[in-house]
Each structure stands twice: as structure tokens, then as C-alpha cells.
């Protein structure tokens, strides 16, 4: 597959001396969805701000095979859309319609096309009929969706989301995950920065773990089953995975740990079927010792 983004040796320090990125290199293929995983202050947002040319550090960033320094911004924004973490920063126009129309109008589209794109973007995020609302009337979940719509209306090939699920209630979170899945299914390249580990397995094909520099790269499975790595990066495994490790201390036999609810259901079904209609758990003298070691492994005391 074609490389859509290629970052080589990117370093960036904020004025005042804080090093935010140190020699970061990564490649993203067309249609992939990538999770950028890292703790607070790991430089995730800084990296994303480089993708559309807002910040520019040392090193090279190629998008669609050409260095972004050689590209005009008008060209770049058609390729990459960045949804910022705080929707109040992204929604700056008086009404939702004006905000979602802002990008398309700047792209020089005609009136009919602008209107068509606004209503289709709002429909995709489930906010049809919100055209004349004011941003301050919206809940945080609705604001996050509206912020995403302001990018969808520009129809970029690559969509970048900074902490899309931070501070959301369960319903808004589910809705947004749904929208991101749709984007992935329609072949968009999606890049998500997050420290919400349960978001990753269902959405990302590949994970980069970032803590100022790239610490690791791999499939969600490779990353989440690497305990040393998680500890080093101050990250956790998804709760469902942890539960299955606990189950294995009680004698549940699984060759591989599930990362999501869907996988858990599948694994449970498989092992019940192969073991003759039930699973067997027991309490041995070594169970407590195993549990203690498990807690230690993930730093729970």
C-alpha cells in the first residue's frame, strides 16, 4: 500500500526549552487507522499540529509523497483535517452552520456545494437540524461532534483527531466511536491521539507509542501484551484484557488475551465449545500467588 504520511527525524522544542518531540519517525499507509498512544505531555498534540503545518520543527514531513514545506496551506488542508481537543477552540463562528461551512467556503466551493457539504457533514455526526444553533447552547458531546463536522465538510483524505473521547459521557463516546468507525470503513486514513486504551483495539490497525520519541510501534495486540513497554510508557491494558489475565490465574485456559468485548465474547465461546460446553475455573494454592504477581506486573498495589 501507498505511504500517505512519512515523518522523518522530526524534533520540536517549545520556546522556553521544553523538548516536545525528539527524533520522531513514522510512516502511515493509505486507509490505515493509527492510534498515537501516550501519557499526558508526551507530545501527541504537538506532533498532530505538525501534520497540517501549524507548527514546523526540524526534520521532514511528507504527505502524499511531497514535503509539506513545499505545499501551499490551501492544498494541505484539502488533504489533512485536524480536529482539536477542545471544541470551544474549534467552533469559533456564531452558528453551527457558519462553522461547518467555514472550511468549504475557504476552499472556494460554490454555494450549493457548500450547503450540501454542511448538511451531509452534520448528518454523518448525527447533528442534522443543528444548523442555526449557537455553540454555547450545545453540550460537550455535541460540541465535539460539531467540531468533527467542521472537518468532515472539507472532505480531507486524512482525518486527525486529538483526544476525541476525552471527558465524554458514555453515549457521546459511543456515538463518536461510531462516526470514527464509519470514516475508517469509507476508506479514510484516520489518526487518533489518545490515552484512552479501551478506544484503541476496536479502532486502530496500528499503534505508535509516543513519549517525546517513538517508544514502540505495532498492532494493538503486540503493544498491549507487552507489559514492560506499557509500564515504561505509563499506560494500562484495557480492563477486559486485565480481567482475562485474572481469569487465567483461576485456571482459565486461553492462548491469547482478548483486547475488546467482541473478542472476549468470541474467545469465551470458542473455549466453551472446545471444552465440552462449559469453562472450568478453580482455586488452587498458587492462585493467590499468581494474582499477587499479576497485580505487581501492572503496578496495582
Amino acid at each position: 500500500m501507498e505511504e500517505i504520511i512519512s515523518i522523518k527525524n522530526l524534533s520540536y522544542g517549545y520556546p522556553g526549552g521544553t523538548v516536545a518531540l525528539n527524533d520522531v519517525s513514522l510512516d502511515i499507509l493509505r486507509g490505515e487507522s493509527i492510534a498515537l498512544l501516550g501519557p499526558n505531555g508526551a507530545g501527541k498534540s504537538t506532533l498532530l499540529l505538525h501534520l497540517n503545518g501549524v507548527l514546523s520543527g526540524k526534520g521532514s514531513i511528507e504527505v502524499f509523497g511531497r514535503n509539506i514545506r513545499e505545499k501551499k496551506r490551501s492544498e494541505l488542508i484539502k488533504e489533512i483535517g485536524v480536529v482539536f481537543q477542545h471544541p470551544d477552540d474549534q467552533l469559533f463562528m456564531p452558528t453551527i452552520f457558519d462553522d461547518v461551512a467555514f472550511g468549504p467556503i475557504n476552499m472556494g466551493l460554490d454555494r450549493g456545494e457548500v450547503e450540501r457539504r454542511v448538511s451531509s457533514a452534520l448528518e454523518k455526526v448525527g447533528l442534522s437540524g443543528y444548523e442555526n444553533r449557537y455553540p454555547h447552547q450545545l453540550s460537550l458531546g455535541e460540541k465535539k461532534k460539531a467540531a468533527l463536522a467542521t472537518i468532515l465538510s472539507m472532505d480531507p483524505e486524512i482525518i486527525v483527531l486529538d483526544e476525541p473521547t476525552a471527558n465524554l459521557d458514555p453515549k457521546s463516546r459511543r456515538d463518536l466511536v461510531g462516526v470514527m468507525r464509519d470514516l475508517k470503513e469509507r476508506g479514510k486514513t484516520v489518526i487518533i491521539s489518545t490515552h484512552d486504551v479501551s478506544l484503541v483495539p476496536g479502532l486502530a490497525d496500528r499503534v505508535y507509542v509516543l513519549d517525546r520519541k517513538i517508544i514502540a510501534e505495532g498492532t494493538p495486540k503486540e503493544i498491549f501484551l507487552n507489559t514492560e513497554l506499557l509500564k515504561k510508557a505509563n499506560l494500562e491494558i484495557p480492563p477486559i484484557t486485565y480481567l482475562f489475565e485474572v481469569l487465567s490465574c483461576f485456571g482459565y485456559n486461553c492462548s491469547s488475551l482478548p483486547l475488546s468485548m467482541d473478542e472476549a465474547v468470541k474467545y469465551l465461546t470458542d473455549s466453551i465449545e472446545t471444552e465440552g460446553g462449559h469453562i472450568h475455573l478453580h482455586l488452587h494454592e498458587h492462585t493467590h500467588e499468581d494474582l499477587r504477581r499479576l497485580k505487581e506486573k501492572y503496578g496495582h498495589h
Partner: protein
């Protein structure tokens, strides 16, 4: 959080709400111009102006109590003039107060000027209330824009109306955080923390401004905000403008 900064009656349906914002703005500014240029001693004209603008208020179906409450904002500004004017102008002395070191004379002309100033400012404020409470902010701003108001002013007003609520929320949160941690303390200390809050708000707003600008750049901002202009002047707009302006001109000159 809840606040009363929103344009509560902006979406009421009425003839006045439906008028093109540009026509409305121009008519009302013209009206203010006429009012201000009326000589202060022609009191009857001011009452007729008042009738004229009041009929617009009634047509707009915005509750009178709301308009009245808003119009009270003029009071502090007029108050200063109110207190000084009767004394400073020369002319026929009506009453005289002898303060130990100062002789104050209330003059007939001074009093007239005072009434004139009050009437002019009140009528002007009233017409601006009509404009702002019958036009949703976004339409008003777009109206200003297509009337060729300087871009920087349009942007300033637009961002002000968007971020006023955000800033008020932020201030409230900081105030609450302070109150929850300050049961005692003396007055001086309380006043000092107000200063800290203001400073903090400034720094936060500065950061926010930076982030907003980034968001604008990311969506192709090149120095001017463009919106879809959907204004069409209809017959009704023309009729309103013609009637209103004609009536005001009649009151002014005849």
C-alpha cells in the same frame, strides 16, 4: 452554566424581526442621527420620536419590560451630565445654592440642555435595543459586514459574542474555586485574589486565542471570514424603511 447574555428575543416572529438587518441598521442609525441633530429646546419633537420608536417596539413583540430594563443601562452615563449640566451653562438663573465656597446657579437653559441630552441618549439607546433584540447576532454581524463595516471590527464583535459566554464560564469557575477555599481572610486578601483571577483570565484567553487561530488556519483562513450571504431585500423592507425614515424626517423638520 446559565447566563443571560444570549439574545433572548432574537428568534421571536414579528414584522420587525423579519426586516433585512442592513435596512434595519441603516434606518435606525439614520433615526439616531436625526434625533441627535434636533435642537435641545424642541421638547415636543422628542416626545414624537419616542412615540415613533415605541410603536416599532410594540410591533416587534419584544416584551416592554425587557426593553425598559435594558434601557436603564443609559442611566449611569447620563447621570454625570445630569448632575453637572444645569449649573455650568450661563443664562437666566432659576435657583441658586450657596455652598460655602461655591455658588451654584441652576439656569433655565442648563435645565433644557439636560432634558435634551437625556432625551437624545435615551432615544438612541432605545433604537439600538430595538436593533439588537430583534436581530439574531449572526445576522446582525453579517449585516454589518455587508454594510462594509471595517473587517477588524466585524471580527472583534463576532468573536466577542462567541466567546463572551466561554469567558464568563471560566471566570465563574475560577471564582467558585476561590470561594471554596476561602472561608476567612481579610478584605485586602480578597481584593488581591480578584487581581490574580483577572491575570489568569488574561493568560488563558491569550492561549485560547492562539489555539483558535490555529484552528482557523487549519480550515483555510487567509485573513477574511467569508460566510454565505443570504440577504435579499424584499418589498416589506423597503416599505418599513420608507415609512420609518419618512416619519422621522417629518418629526425632525416639520
Amino acid at each position: 452554566m446559565q447566563h443571560d447574555l444570549s439574545n433572548k428575543y432574537g428568534d421571536v416572529k414579528s414584522i420587525i424581526h423579519g426586516i433585512d438587518p442592513r435596512i434595519k441598521t441603516l434606518s435606525l442609525i439614520f433615526f439616531i442621527f436625526l434625533v441627535v441633530s434636533t435642537p435641545a429646546d424642541e421638547g415636543s419633537r422628542f416626545s414624537t420620536y419616542f412615540l415613533l420608536i415605541s410603536s416599532v417596539v410594540i410591533l416587534s413583540r419584544v416584551p416592554l419590560s425587557f426593553v425598559f430594563r435594558r434601557s436603564l443601562t443609559v442611566i449611569p452615563f447620563v447621570l454625570l451630565v445630569f448632575l453637572s449640566l444645569p449649573f455650568i451653562q450661563g443664562g437666566e438663573v432659576m435657583a441658586s445654592y450657596d455652598l460655602r465656597f461655591l455658588q451654584l446657579n441652576v439656569t433655565h437653559r442648563g435645565l433644557e440642555t439636560l432634558i435634551g441630552v437625556f432625551a437624545k441618549s435615551y432615544l438612541s439607546v432605545l433604537s439600538m435595543i430595538v436593533l439588537t433584540s430583534t436581530t439574531p447576532f449572526p445576522r446582525l454581524i453579517r449585516g454589518f459586514e455587508s454594510l462594509k463595516m471595517p473587517k477588524i471590527m466585524v471580527l472583534t464583535i463576532s468573536f466577542m459574542c462567541r466567546y463572551m459566554t466561554v469567558l464568563v464560564d471560566e471566570t465563574m469557575r475560577m471564582k467558585r474555586a476561590r470561594d471554596l477555599r476561602s472561608s476567612g481572610g481579610n478584605r485586602r486578601w480578597h481584593i488581591e485574589t480578584v487581581g490574580d483571577i483577572i491575570g489568569n483570565l488574561f493568560i488563558r484567553s491569550y492561549g485560547r486565542g492562539e489555539r483558535i487561530y490555529n484552528a482557523m488556519l487549519s480550515r483555510g483562513f487567509t485573513g477574511s471570514i467569508k460566510t454565505l450571504d443570504d440577504f435579499k431585500i424584499r418589498a416589506l423592507d423597503g416599505i418599513f424603511a420608507a415609512f420609518f425614515i419618512a416619519a422621522a424626517v417629518v418629526v425632525r423638520f416639520i
